[in-house]
């Protein structure tokens, strides 16, 4: 295995199957991770090589392997830090696009979700999603966890290692956990945008735990965790199975359908629609804050996408980072032109949504597509998202203050499909431990991959969306039965602004209007 890792350093060839002795059920995530995970054994080699060097017999191979594995783990931790910093971006975007009277509330939901989701994921979510496979990497042969629900090619959930306990808790495993918890928190914070200005604090707290413990791990287990969707290449003969490099589907679309469900159950903010049901604009109170937040998200996205190689020795990370920037840049400018055409001015909010749409959409295909395709994906995503904002508001009559449903939901589903359209087969051989020689979309004449992606999209919309809707609806019904008035804040609180009734402090006490 160490030799195989070294091969990555020498050849920069990530398409080699480094772990031929692994069972075919193992995931690509695990595979990529393993490169980084040999750190523990690599450290041993390093110690050994120092001793050997003293005896004049320097183990160059061991030293290089050790350095490579340490670098890979460092890359994962840098990536995790960048993704965690995206929470700051979300906080600024959502607060900026909301009104001043709710600013304390909105910014604090974005702050608190980090810990709420984290705790749910720490105790329950991580082992449910990754328990069956990730741990195996640390025993290196035998997984510590096992399927909790399902078997063979139809595994739904895993078990094992609750609360990061049990064997195999190495620095590499903890690094992997940190990276994954950051992705989970992105999902958890997406609905805070679409449900802003009217979501009761107590109801929001329950969502945070639920998302980290159950909601995110479901789809993550089916895909990145090695569950049934990742194995459709074998069970249904679809491409390389469901492929999602960094989570257009697994993270953004899953968060987006929750944003949709939450906004649907809550209803629109008071005053959003006039008596005839026509939408009215409710301008955000701090556009510079929202634009700064968008740029922080762009910055964090390089950790989100590029570090998803899980290995600095897999230099595809440079392609990924550049494709990410391309899609964001083209998305922002396409958004600028499209909204100018539609409404006469280059609306800053729509430009920000355009950039984020490009970033969300490139997240799944970023490692598999050429730069031209990244540009096309960014442009289409931005136009799609602006039209989606209009559709959500004018046709569905849903109130989404920041455009979370369109950016993450529509952009994420589109990005997931893009893997099956634009992938050029140059990367991803053996993905999902399939016999694929590179992920190929319909531009290479392969329709199977699009089928796998379409199945994933359908599952996100119907099953995961259904879970989210059921959760919010049940929570609302139970809360009403208990006499607590549902998950929506009272009309009076909403009108005076949630800052004082919910948080007890104004965001801007010096500027309160009498």
């Amino acid at each position: 295995m160490l030799t195989q890792s070294r091969a990555t350093v020498e050849n920069y060839d990530s398409s080699t199957d480094f772990f031929p002795d692994m069972t075919r059920k193992r995931t690509p995530l695990l595979k990529r991770l393993l490169i980084a995970l040999t750190i523990s054994s690599g450290a041993l080699v390093a110690t050994g090589s120092i001793a050997l060097a003293a005896e004049g017999d320097f183990d160059a191979e061991g030293a290089i392997t050790s350095l490579a594995t340490a670098t890979n783990l460092l890359w994962v931790i840098i990536g995790a830090s960048l993704v965690i910093f995206m929470q700051a971006g979300f906080a600024l975007v959502e607060t900026g696009f909301c009104r001043a009277k709710h600013a304390s509330h909105v910014v604090t939901t974005n702050f608190a979700i980090f810990g709420l989701g984290f705790i749910g994921f720490f105790f329950v979510g991580f082992p449910l999603a990754f328990g069956g496979f990730s741990y195996g990497a640390f025993g290196l042969n035998a997984p510590i966890g096992a399927p909790l629900l399902g078997s063979g090619e139809w595994i739904f959930l895993f078990k094992g290692g609750w609360a990061l306990s049990g064997g195999g808790v190495t620095p590499a495993l903890l690094g992997f956990f940190l990276y994954m918890v950051a992705f989970m928190d992105t999902v958890a914070t997406i609905p805070t945008g679409s449900m802003a200005e009217r979501w009761k604090w107590g109801s929001f707290v329950i969502w945070g735990f639920f998302c980290g413990a159950v909601y995110y791990p479901l789809f993550a287990a089916w895909t990145w965790g090695g569950g049934w969707l990742s194995q459709t290449w074998s069970s249904m003969n679809l491409g390389a199975g469901y492929v999602d490099f960094a989570g257009s589907g697994v993270v953004h679309a899953v968060g987006g359908v929750a944003a949709f469900a939450g906004a649907k159950v809550l209803g629109a903010r008071i005053g959003k629609f006039d008596k005839d049901g026509n939408p009215r604009a409710i301008p955000g109170h701090h556009i510079p804050m929202a634009m700064l937040g968008t740029f922080i998200l762009l910055f964090g996205w390089f950790g989100f996408n590029a570090a998803s190689t899980f290995a600095a020795t897999d230099v595809q990370f440079a392609t990924v980072a550049t494709n990410t920037a391309i899609a964001g840049a083209f998305g922002a400018i396409a958004g600028m032109f499209w909204i100018t055409k539609r409404s006469g001015k280059p609306d800053p909010g729509m430009m920000a949504n355009g950039m984020l749409a490009g970033l969300v959409a490139i997240t799944a295909p970023c490692a598999f597509v050429a730069p031209w395709a990244a540009a096309v994906i960014g442009i289409i995503a931005a136009i799609l998202v602006i039209e989606s904002v209009f559709f959500v508001e004018r046709k569905l009559k849903l109130d989404d203050p920041v455009g979370a449903i369109s950016v993450h939901g529509v952009g994420g589903l589109f990005g997931t499909m893009c893997v099956g359209i634009f992938s050029n087969g140059s990367y991803g051989a053996g993905w999902n431990l399939s016999d694929s020689d590179g992920v190929k979309g319909i531009i290479k004449g392969d329709w199977g991959q699009l089928g796998a992606q379409a199945l994933g999209v359908a599952v996100i919309v119907v099953v995961i969306g259904g879970v989210a809707y059921t959760f919010f609806k049940l929570q609302d019904i139970i809360s009403k039965k208990m006499g607590k008035g549902g998950i929506r804040s009272s009309e009076e609180d909403e009108l005076i602004g949630l800052d004082i009734p919910e948080m007890g402090v104004y965001a801007y006490p010096e500027f309160v209007k009498s």
């Binding site: 939408p279 009215r280 604009a281 409710i282 006469g344 001015k345 609306d347 904002v389 508001e393 455009g403």
Partner: protein, 112 residues
């Protein structure tokens, strides 16, 4: 003594202040206000949805002058605040019955 109240476009404030000082006005009180006139605000779009700005931001100046200085002050404000476009604002004049300078207790024109 007269109180002159003028509503002008915010970006014209510096010009108006300089013009008033040039004709000998010794004090101005300024407040940021919002309002609408005959035009009734204007429409904008946000995230593609139209909305109306009913109350347009303006600046209100208040200054007390002697009766003899009213015409010069009005002329100065008119000349410096005008753009010729809708929303340039208004000036009105009212009589001041009594004026007191708090520090010295002076009253009337001496207190201006």
């Amino acid at each position: 003594m007269k109180l002159i109240t003028a509503i002008v476009k915010p970006f014209k404030l510096d010009d108006v202040k300089d013009a008033l000082k040039a004709v000998g006005v010794q004090g101005i009180t300024v407040s940021e206000v919002r309002g609408f006139g005959r035009q009734g605000g204007h429409s904008e779009t946000y995230r593609g949805a139209e909305y109306k700005i009913d109350f347009v931001p303006k600046v209100r100046l208040e200054l007390v002058v002697e009766d003899s200085g009213v015409d010069a002050a009005i002329a100065a404000i008119k000349a410096s605040a005008v753009t010729g476009k809708i929303g340039d604002g208004k000036i009105w004049v009212s009589t001041v019955e009594r004026l007191v300078r708090i520090r010295t207790g002076e009253e009337g024109p001496d207190a201006i």
